[in-house]
């Protein structure tokens, strides 16, 4: 399972960071899911191996421009690239009103089916490689976090059971693994599927939208290997800015992740005041966010950069892939 950050800036792009978009891919296959679609997401995609023709679902967290102004361009380029397969868009009703208006007012003709599913806490979207559910967040406008859990977990044979039934390792093991029916020398008939078990626990990630109350994700985060969450600024800056914008500081998210016992946390959506290679005072360096989060969180902490890809291995371990 792979998570690629396509934009890690909040509000406005910088030369190093685009606005929000995140791609989630299963371990196998080319199908993928996009969470949020800030302006120029399609431009970012041109620098990855992800194809608009293999995009299955777009999940939008909320209707603010830095999370959805790239949507019309993605839909238009799907059309120009010859897409015919249906595309599912999930988000608040406001997102659908916005995109319908743009389609109509800019004479955008889509020949593939675009289906809208309004997000709710009842969302249960079986979508190709993932089961997708949602949790409502707290922001200036209706906003959601999405949990993506893999569906197709690799199988292995339940050799403990086979041994317990007195079935010794032999050529029949590989036939059972393939799901075939096997007749044993003693006349017993075995169904391969009866001896399958998942090779590992289903992996899951939560990708959250803008949110000033991380604890709202407590239930959604149960059992996930990774939480991708905004940390727009430090606690000191948050106190100066005030609660109006509805964002979290690094400390808040780190405290939540620690309480929750999350194995890995990926921070993103950084205020443009934090530069990647700063010549600025230390408190405006991106490292100030890392320092703050490390004070509260003892798991694997990552600060995202555009085009970073994180993998969740079958054993649940999260690591950044080499570029």
């Amino acid at each position: 399972m792979k998570i690629t950050l396509l934009g890690t800036s909040s509000g406005t792009p910088t030369r190093q960071r685009n606005v929000s978009a995140t791609a989630v891919q299963p371990e196998r296959g080319k199908a993928w899911v996009l969470v949020d679609c800030g302006e120029a997401t399609q431009h970012q995609l041109l620098r990855t191996g992800l194809s608009l023709l293999q995009l299955k679902v777009i999940l939008i967290t909320h209707v603010h421009g830095d999370h959805c102004y790239g949507l019309p361009g993605v839909l238009a380029s799907c059309q120009l690239n010859g897409r015919t397969a249906p595309l599912t868009l999930v988000g608040p009703a406001a997102v659908w009103r916005y995109i319908q208006a743009v389609i109509e007012l800019t004479e955008l003709h889509l020949e593939y089916p675009l289906e809208f599913v309004e997000v709710s806490d009842q969302l249960q979207l079986p979508c190709g490689p993932f089961d997708i559910t949602a949790a409502v967040l707290s922001h200036r406008t209706e906003c959601w976090g999405y949990r993506l859990e893999e569906v197709a977990v690799t199988r292995r044979l339940d050799t403990v059971r086979l041994n317990a039934e007195g079935i010794e390792p032999s050529a029949c093991y590989s036939r059972l693994y393939r799901g075939e029916r096997v007749r044993l020398g003693d006349g017993r008939e075995l169904e391969g599927r009866d001896y399958w078990m998942p090779a590992h626990a289903a992996r899951a990630v939560v990708v959250a939208g803008d949110n000033d109350r991380p604890e709202l994700l407590a239930e959604a985060c149960c059992g996930v290997q990774l939480l991708v969450h905004e940390a727009t600024y430090t606690e000191a800056v948050l106190q100066r800015v005030g609660p109006g914008p509805g964002h979290s500081c690094a400390a808040q998210v780190a405290r939540f992740a620690e309480t929750q016992g999350l194995p890995a946390l990926l921070l993103t959506h950084f205020s443009p005041r934090y530069l990647l290679h700063p010549k600025r005072p230390k408190d405006l360096s991106i490292e100030s966010l890392r320092d703050e989060a490390e004070q509260y969180y003892s798991g694997r902490l990552h600060l995202g950069q555009d085009f970073d890809t994180y993998s969740i291995a079958r054993n649940g371990e999260v690591s950044k892939l080499p570029e």
Copy 2:
């Protein structure tokens, strides 16, 4: 006077070319004008010296996405950058309906005044450094070309008239140049302004939108030094594609420029099938467009690339500035 291409692809961006946007700057001052605003125009601007705070007017040729999907992001980033000065938007009424809908539906709060002027063939927009007029074009939707003519032409002294009046070169020349009143030894009083004349003809450029009838620009192009016009494909490809999309081929634009006696022609808005560094058949190389245009046009021909800047010198000569 400088023209910077911010996007030279049609329909969809490629790794080398963004969709349409063109910046026009006067010789002096930081104010500038944007013609069209495809998605990620604000991202392109981050790679130039052009500031959103100095942007005076946005001229949109038509409402298709590759010419206006960057507009919401530009307006939002003007706000986030602290703009307070009014911004004028010019275009067909459809552009205003589109941008009003996006502003409302995505909760975009602009605290600076955004003024809309509907384009027409009566448009006479004195805008800081330029007089702006418009000519209607032929496309699948209402579409316009804009003519920008510089207002403030540098002055020089009319030395022929001074000589004819028996006023010899002396210190009084520089006082007249500065606009002062000068009393001569013989009692005559001269007003500096009476002896001013423009140092050169006012420079002008036409930046056209999508258009399959270049001849519609005949009047607008009178006396201009440069026409920036789409040449989406070659004549052979146009014949295969048919007239549906409403675009010009290189030959069409070149023939018009030749008939019109235009000193310089800058082609842009190339179909993504033409690659910059092609490993493709020769007929899908960008050079095939150049070859075709050169057959019909004997002036200075340029094929645009993103971030190319062209200057119109005071003597009217158009040249590409070094990168």
